[in-house]
Subunit: 479 residues, 2 copies
């Protein structure tokens, strides 16, 4: 114990090349970062690895948080990564693994071998352990589970029995539950005397004799009451018990809505079997938001610069194939009017404007609809109002841009072309607003994720309506 | 105190029309929800409000969480909302206000009047109070602050002095700090005996005599150690002190990276002035992810079905105007080749395919780039590798689709048209991959948010390259 601890600034610990830059004082550098490893540390580690200078490498990573070692591993080249894993092999910190991105994690696990992974599974929190093995092939998973201690194995197998992306997969099984008749004093004594409790917890769950959660006592409240007070007198009674089969998105919304730090998970009989904490949920929120964005852009379900090339090409190809299908439909609409275009080539020049404005207006509405559906802000009781609103926005913008572009085209080409352009733009942008809402609503009703597929249908609609309205009107009016 | 508390199921509290459905047991209904108010409750509340049945309305909302009352207010019609606010006016729970969406909140605050808002500011946590007033006009804000008690006013003014979206705005000023020489016993006694401590806290900050944070003790750890242990012996020493001026996105990444429950905020001198907790950060993560999505779709910076109509029209109009500009550039490229199209109308039929495939491939890459930049996964050290990767993906897909479409067009129209289509598709999809990375990287270098503007430039590039390559090659080869 050193006396100067009391007067040391919090940053003092970090000026020793641990790579964690000190936030408040960082002045140089374009992008001071509060966390993670610095570019400089990555360079120095890479250099030391290339030179095979093991002591230097060990010195650089010695003080790093597991999340930062994971960060470093991701940012090294393949060869350097392999060297670093080899160096860290003895006493490899299992906490690093859950922090690694998918394909880097697969490489590192393959290199470490099944023995190290089995050890990691026994040491990690059950939710992290599940995260590591849930995507493995069934036979590899079974072989691995055969090597871990029976108690751990049983717990993992129970969690794996719940569906993917469910609360049962997300939960941590180690938790602290007490009966309602315990006093604060007895609870504190239990916490002090019992070894092997979870390292982090934010509330104590109160359970009935059948192990059903009937309340929760946040630790802050526990600390603020005298020893003789009964838990039942200070517990929150409206605990949000989550069924293990509930979808993780639903869990995330629950946590966000009530600002929860943790919540109990129960089995079919309502018995307490696990706990979900805010940090699990933070990851879910980030992932779900990214997933919607990725799906809308047709990048597959993940946006990951480290994803395998073959997988990325394949995922995107699927979407591009669908897009090709709609593009061919659009082409066939244009082909209907080949004769018209041959006579008035200006139509070919102007037609992309109609399609492009409609597509953009539709995407705007679609984005609003997808997020509102995901956040449950769009419900049967307000759907009609929001459809009207979005159609109105489309119509207003259609009117404004239709007049501007129509007048300009009328002056440059021909008044009739201008009038046709105005009508087509207005009709297409109104349609865009309407279908930008109706398509995702219909898909949601059919239990299809609107983020995935609404964009395809929407672009098809706005392109086809746009070209058909423009070229069809032109044929009627101008020929 | 009732004895049956011990054997009551957690759901028992909720079958009394509070609107909170019981998650685990909900079986009927398409979308059982763990939280929030049910459609049924909204209908019943609306009915009672329309009939002016005040006791029935009060009964319905009596047991609701503030977040759920906010939810209900958002889902009622304007008239019903006004009636409900009037009913709740006496003893209006200030906690409802921060849960309300922007324009509903403005309406409710306007209806309640400045006196109720001033009272709310004194009662709410400082971060919630700041959230309520930070968007008000300067003079309204000043008038309001003049009516709150001096201590609250000073605290709010200090927080408002920090930039918008900074840690200083996000932080809560009430926190618990202790010197390192205190024992666990003394700390617990302090917590038990001091009135007016914050209701929720997750760790105790340890400060030096100059009030700089030098450590933190999570409550779970505090509870697990005997009374005589010194805080300095159990505290975490590598606390991540956040400067009050740091951007909230950076704060969110820090919390997510290290799975923090709370973190201290310090002023320029490194003194502890506030605390940020995970629930603030959950909101930031959600908002930032939504913002990127909204910006990419050109819906302005928020995707909110409750946003004002005029504002929504204006925000989208801006983006549609920019899109019109690029559409006109594209038209002028096509106009260059009017004579060619006049001779071979098939070109007008096929040209949307080239543009559409390029646009889609580019958007895929762009989405990856924007998220990777936002999450700091794209850094100078790996930028080159990822640019190569994305260009490669574009080229591979360009080759695949170019051959498929080229062969088909060759059979249907003319082998030369097929060859031209193949070359144009390949060139455009390769360009799409390359510019889908380079444009956001360049914008990021210029300190422009790539989510806002990259899409415009990208579509312009893929449209222009697509039409130019296709029509230009056609002119060279076919005429």
């Amino acid at each position: 114990m050193r006396d100067e601890d009391d007067i040391r600034a919090p940053e003092a610990d970090r000026q020793d090349g641990t790579g964690r830059q000190d936030g408040p004082r960082a002045e140089g550098g374009a992008m001071p970062s509060l966390y993670g490893v610095s570019d400089d540390l990555v360079r120095r580690a890479a250099g030391a690895l290339d030179e095979g200078d093991a002591p230097a490498v060990r010195g650089l990573v010695a003080e790093l948080h597991a999340a930062d070692i994971a960060d470093l591993l991701e940012r090294l080249s393949g060869d350097e990564r392999r060297s670093l894993v080899e160096l860290l092999r003895d006493g490899f910190d299992p906490e690093i693994l859950p922090h690694l991105a998918g394909n880097v994690r697969d490489q590192v696990i393959a290199q470490l071998g099944p023995r190290v992974l089995a050890e990691a599974l026994s040491v990690l929190d059950s939710d992290d352990a599940i995260y590591l093995i849930e995507d493995l092939d069934d036979d590899i998973q079974a072989a691995l589970l055969a090597t871990v201690p029976p108690a751990t194995r049983r717990a993992l197998e129970e969690s794996l029995a719940y569906p993917e992306y469910s609360a049962g997969r997300l939960m941590q099984r180690d938790l602290i539950a007490m009966p309602a008749f315990w006093t604060v004093g007895r609870a504190i004594d239990f916490l002090r005397e019992t070894p092997d409790l979870p390292e982090e917890f934010y509330e104590i769950f109160v359970v009935d004799p059948r192990h059903k959660p009937i309340g929760a006592v946040p630790l802050a409240r526990m600390l603020r009451h005298p020893r003789k007070v009964l838990l039942r007198d200070i517990m929150d009674r409206d605990v949000d018990a989550i069924s293990a089969s509930v979808d993780q998105e639903e869990v995330a919304r629950l946590f966000r809505h009530y600002s929860l730090a943790s919540a109990p998970v129960v089995d079919d009989q309502g018995r307490l079997i696990g706990v979900i904490t805010f940090d699990d949920v933070v990851d879910v929120i980030q992932e779900e938001a990214e997933e919607d964005m990725a799906l809308m852009a047709g990048v597959g379900s993940e946006v990951d610069v480290n994803a395998g090339l073959v997988r990325a090409v394949r995922q995107r190809m699927a979407w591009l194939g669908v897009n090709l299908g709609t593009a061919l439909m659009v082409s066939s609409v244009i082909a209907l009017f080949e004769a018209t275009i041959e006579q008035i080539v200006a139509l070919a020049v102007l037609m992309p404007i109609v399609a492009s404005m409609g597509g953009n207006a539709g995407t705007q509405t679609l984005t609003v609809a997808v997020r509102a559906l995901a956040l449950k802000e769009l419900t049967p009781s307000n759907a009609m109002r929001i459809v009207m609103r979005e159609t109105g926005i489309g119509a207003i913008n259609g009117l404004v841009f239709g007049i501007a572009v129509g007048v300009a085209a009328g002056l440059i080409f021909d008044p009739f072309i201008g009038a046709v352009l105005f009508c087509a733009l207005f009709a297409n942008m109104l349609t865009a607003g309407l279908s930008g809402m109706l398509i995702p609503l219909a898909l949601d009703r059919l239990k299809v994720d609107p983020a995935v597929s609404a964009g395809v249908f929407l672009t098809a609609v706005t392109d086809i309506v746009g070209f058909f309205a423009f070229l069809g009107l032109a044929q009627l009016v101008l020929l």
